[in-house]
């Protein structure tokens, strides 16, 4: 014997193309919603990961746009501003500081790249660091191992011709430990750029952060090559106690310096999330419109199906079906469409994660590393639940229409 659910599915199979198109409409709406939810989760996670992997809680940098400053540390950039040379000496005296590391960042032009790329990849981020304080902030940093990577070490602090490459730079430029590495640097205040030759002494293991795309030099050598002796781009700081109160106290102490801004990485995180907020709102609007269109499609399909089966509904009522039976049957058909749409949509979104991610990365320059779309079972189940709720409401009107038919009118109409 068939059941209400079996009968509902049977009815949907009578017009397979129409039912499939309606399911596909719901699936598309659900896929958009799941992707958006996955992007929200993934983006937050990626930001948190990227910021955590910077290794410090507070950055001190030259006054300028704080948003630009925030994203620069995460994804690099040009138009860098520099701190005066004595900033580090002054800030080091603060008793709330647990650890501090100076960083000099400059942008160089690639030379003799093994891969021809006239676009963005023709520039390099050069980072001058003090290895001791830098690695104490980022204890996870390690040298890559394997053929061409073995034997890596940090450069000599006094050497001017040794570099350590981030993993992506090394693989993109096809460099091994011991290879030569060329970069052209335009020193500040000088007209002609100078080509420098370096020896690759180490290649870092992948970190999933901007460090992977960075070329590391001793800080003094970097400052000298860019003709900015003693200047710094960033001072990274870990506080002994990182609370809101302590942060505000620290900030008020050092904001007094005329050329300095203090940026909390919590602020950076909030800034980055708010930067993407507008885009998320637009995508959310698209998702809502898609859901409404899908809902209208479902109502239309079920109403058409009800009208086509007027006579059958009439005979079912004549044979003993109550209003509730017909209501239940039509409602189940709607729920079945929405459930299938939810399932297919969730699976589509899950299967297309990488496609969505690369599309988002192409459309929006977000400035965080790692996976940006995080579609979990919870997200998929929530989406499917929402699709069923959608069906719950979409099915009310057609089910009510069918249940309200007088059997005599329905049969007469069916015969006509």
């Amino acid at each position: 014997m068939t059941s209400y659910l079996g009968l509902a599915f049977n009815n949907l199979l009578r017009r397979p193309v129409r039912s499939a198109l309606t399911v596909f409409g719901v699936a598309l709406a659900v896929a958009v919603a799941v992707s958006l939810a996955g992007f929200n989760r993934g983006y937050r996670r990626a930001i948190e990961h990227s910021i955590e992997r910077l290794g410090f809680q507070v950055m001190i940098m030259a006054k300028g746009c704080p948003y630009e400053a925030a994203t620069m540390m995460l994804k690099g950039g040009t138009g860098l501003l520099y701190l005066p040379g004595d900033t580090l000496t002054k800030i080091k005296t603060d008793s709330d500081i647990k650890a501090i590391t100076p960083i000099f960042i400059g942008v160089a032009q690639k030379e003799a790249s093994s891969i021809r790329d006239d676009a963005a990849a023709s520039f390099l981020i050069i980072s001058g660091i003090e290895t001791g304080s830098f690695t104490s902030m980022k204890p996870w940093i390690a040298f890559a191992r394997g053929l061409g990577f073995d034997g890596g070490r940090w450069f000599n602090p006094d050497a001017a011709d040794e570099v350590v490459l981030g993993y992506e730079v090394a693989t993109y430029e096809q460099r091994k430990v011991g290879d030569q590495f060329l970069a052209t640097i335009a020193p500040a205040g000088k007209a002609d750029p100078i080509q420098h030759s370096f020896k690759v002494v180490g290649i870092l293991d992948r970190t999933g952060t901007q460090d992977d795309g960075t070329v590391f030099l001793p800080i003094a050598a970097a400052q000298s090559m860019f003709n900015r002796p003693a200047e710094l781009t960033i001072v990274g700081i870990k506080l002994k106690e990182f609370t809101g109160v302590k942060m505000r106290e620290f900030e008020s102490r050092w904001m007094k310096l005329p050329e300095v801004q203090v940026v909390s990485l919590q602020q950076v995180k909030n800034t980055l999330i708010s930067l993407i907020g507008t885009a998320q709102t637009m995508v959310l609007a698209v998702a809502i419109i898609a859901v409404i269109v899908a809902m209208i499609g479902v109502i239309n399909t079920i109403i058409m199906s009800v009208y086509e089966r007027t006579g059958e509904i009439g005979i079912m009522k004549a044979l003993g079906a109550f209003r509730g039976d017909i209501f239940q049957l039509i409602w189940l058909e709607t729920l079945a469409i929405c459930f299938c749409g939810g399932l297919v949509g969730s699976l589509l979104a899950w299967a297309g994660t990488h496609l969505i991610e690369s599309a988002i990365k192409r459309l929006i320059d977000i400035g965080v590393q790692g996976s940006l779309v995080d579609i979990t079972w919870e997200v998929m189940l929530t989406a499917m639940g929402s699709a069923i709720v959608l069906g719950f409401f979409a099915g009310l009107y057609p089910a009510w229409r069918a249940a309200s038919m007088r059997p005599i009118d329905a049969i007469r109409e069916g015969i006509g």
């Binding site: 014997m1 068939t2 059941s3 209400y4 009968l7 049977n10 009815n11 199979l13 009578r14 006579g311 059958e312 009439g314 005979i315 079912m316 009522k317 004549a318 044979l319 003993g320 079906a321 109550f322 209003r323 039976d325 007088r406 059997p407 005599i408 049969i411 069916g414 015969i415």
Partner: protein, 236 residues
């Protein structure tokens, strides 16, 4: 001792309005139908056959008069109460078969039980199909059947809830004469062997005249009634 009529109608009317005109589809019919009878309702198109059978089967409510079915006074009942009376008491067969094309013959026959929240064994379904001569077609889809076979399935579907009355509105209307005669024969067999009361409308005078009782309508009124002498006669 004389049996009570299964259907008892007095002054039955069904009037409706079409613009400013009042159409008297049924106009003051008195009628008693005893259990176990096969009654044909004949008449030209527009004579009120279908309206009368709709009233007698609780699908429609009269605008005047009294109607009692199996002891239930149904003329003033709401639609839901009429539906409750129909359930299990009346089975239906129409000119159009209304079988669900994606269900098998057996599943179509079992369909009403879904609404009765009852189950039946496959053997029970096969017994019903055997009565209508379709036991070998249980797994077939309606599209694999002839018109006559589809009407047999519709009859089996009506019988599955063991009704006391079978209402058949033009049951042979979509069939050729051979299949029509076979369906008529099947209905007669159900009356004779199972004591079912069958009320049918038809345009086919040859078949209609083979019933136990023949009622002829014209303009919503009974013009002839061949009720046997022992039955209370309807009035004109």
């Amino acid at each position: 001792m004389m049996q009570d009529p299964l259907i008892h109608a007095r002054g039955l009317c069904r009037h409706y309005h079409r613009g400013i005109e009042t159409v008297k589809a049924i106009d003051g019919i008195d009628l008693d139908i005893m259990p176990g009878a096969m009654v044909s309702i004949l008449g030209p198109s527009g004579s009120g056959k279908t309206t009368l059978i709709n009233l007698l089967s609780c699908l429609d409510a009269p605008t005047a008069g009294t109607l009692s079915i199996a002891g239930h006074l149904v003329d003033a009942m709401s639609e839901d109460k009429l539906a409750a009376i129909r359930r299990g008491l009346i089975g239906f067969v129409f000119q159009k078969f209304y079988l669900i094309p994606t269900l098998t013959v057996a599943e179509n026959v079992e369909l009403p039980l879904l609404f009765f929240k009852r189950t039946i064994t496959r053997e029970g379904t096969m017994n019903i199909l055997r009565q209508v001569g379709l036991e070998d077609r249980a797994r077939h889809l309606p599209s694999e059947l002839s018109g006559g076979q589809m009407q047999r399935v519709a009859i089996a579907r009506a019988l599955i809830v063991q009704p006391r009355i079978l209402m058949a509105d033009e049951p042979t209307g979509n069939l050729d004469s051979e299949n029509g005669a076979a369906i008529f024969g099947l209905l007669r067999h159900l009356v004779r062997d199972q004591g079912l009361t069958v009320i049918l409308t038809t345009h086919n005078l040859v078949l209609g005249n083979q019933a136990d009782r023949i009622i002829t309508l014209k303009d919503g009124r009974i013009v002839t009634d061949s009720a046997p002498p022992s039955f209370p006669s309807s009035t004109i």
